[in-house]
Symmetry: C2
Subunit: 251 residues, 2 copies
DNA sequence: CCTAATCTGCGTATGGCATACGCTTATCTG
DNA sequence: CAGATAAGCGTATGCCATACGCAGATTAGG
């Protein structure tokens, strides 16, 4: 019943569905070791330090040996992301509403990206198909159970939250990294940005930006408050739809 | 008054603020020509085809000559994105509400990314600072004028919409590209995904995913409807806050 | 008008990178 | 024990960004 759909090589690999051959020498490594070595390098020295030869030397094998474990470097990166993301936070509790559950799910996304910032540089290769990604999907859907949202709407809502988490984590991590590079604090980097914007827009017709800069409120920003702001807007919007549906169907 | 803030080299470059030296030979190219050549290659053959030597040969110059125009390849990519994104759609009209204006602004983001899909592969290098990026920022802020939102809230709202536009455009473009690569239609690629998901989750505890697959509603999806769904949730959430503020202050 | 300063284009070289190919050797099946 | 198969990996190919420095063009200042 399952057999009539062929899984792509990289997917089968991620799910551990490759049947081991019985002939030939034993492998001296496991796929997990290769993936772990990649993650360790990425975490310690950044994604740019992850090359096939670097991973191989970390494991004490020759570069080309890795290709017995992984079809391409990109597949390795996908596996690294799936492993480093890890499993989602615990699922919606029995008496937990959809909203706190989905909020926790979103926070979990941000937390994972903050723990392993290199992941934001691995380009998304498609819809979630690897084991942990699917677990995240499952828990996200669990959070939206019983809300009256249709299938495609539940998917869209999850995409909305995870996309926001990713873009927000990316922006803040970029600032932290720029600060580290230039020996400044992240606050200084933020301040610089507004100063540059002020200089550049001074001669031109940018009334709304000048208004913004004039309010002088943008420096004392707590980043977590900003994250919550966007998340709460999304959740408010979803809540409005769920409530409207519930009202319409009970009437 | 402006002079006490030094602009980084790449920013000055993007804004055309480099004072031309008077000594030395005339340049045979302009920065715009270099950027245009890069865009043309990216559009025709994808971002991976854009190398310094490829751009140079397109222009009939030697590779190293480009470095007289651009400090690094990454700066070139940033300039390419800023130029290819182009200016934002026309700003909020005098009698236009914030909501349609912000919706148009979001649609404009998606439209730009769909016109030049290679842009999604250029990693975001920081907050928007290049000329067109700043124009987009300005118009986004104009859309939110008079809503009662604070400065940091206006920024967060704009980030929310542009982040969503980017992640949505990325996902759909990935599917279109995967389809082109395998000679399938995008619909077939989507169908395959759900089939793979069904096979992989069949043995495991994925009740919410099975529920989703069981609804059988996910195949006939109109992508633009899905985009609108997420956008409307965001806008509803923002509207809720704006209305609550207005009610509180008029009371 | 000349000389010194300065800039342009670019040839060359360095030190990477992913990965195709094919060989040797270890291991298992029948 | 023979044949099949797979593992590890040496070698080679064809990319890549970019550091460095030189030759020739152009101009400013005397």
């Amino acid at each position: 019943m399952n057999g009539d759909v062929e899984l792509p090589e990289n997917v089968a690999l991620a799910w551990g569905l490759r049947d081991r051959p019985s002939r030939g020498p034993k492998r001296s490594l496991s796929l997990d070791q290769v993936v772990a070595a990649g993650i360790q390098i990425a975490q310690a020295e950044g994604l740019t330090a992850v090359s096939m030869s670097r991973v191989a030397s970390e494991l004490g094998v020759a570069t080309m040996s890795l290709y017995r474990y992984v079809p391409t470097k990109h597949d390795l990166l996908d596996l690294m992301v799936d492993t480093a993301f890890g499993p989602p936070p615990h699922p919606r509790g029995a008496d937990e509403g959809w909203r706190p559950a989905l909020a926790r799910w979103g926070e979990g996304n941000v937390a994972a990206l903050r723990r392993q910032p290199w992941m934001r540089h691995v380009p998304i290769s498609g819809p979630p198909i690897n084991p942990n990604q699917v677990r995240w999907l499952e828990y996200g859907l669990v959070a939206l159970r019983g809300t009256g949202l249709r299938a495609s709407e539940r998917i869209s809502t999850i995409m909305l939250v995870s996309g926001y988490a990713r873009s927000w984590a990316t922006l803040t991590a970029d600032i932290v990294e720029a600060a580290a590079r230039t020996g400044q604090t992240p606050e200084q980097v933020g301040l610089r940005y507004w100063q540059h914007l002020a200089v550049l827009t001074a001669p031109g017709p940018y009334p709304a930006i000048h208004e913004l800069l004039g309010e002088g409120e943008e420096y004392d920003d707590d980043v977590d408050l900003e994250w919550r702001f966007g998340l709460d807007r999304i959740l408010d919007g979803v809540a409005a739809m769920i409530d409207a549906r519930a009202a319409a169907s009970s009437q």
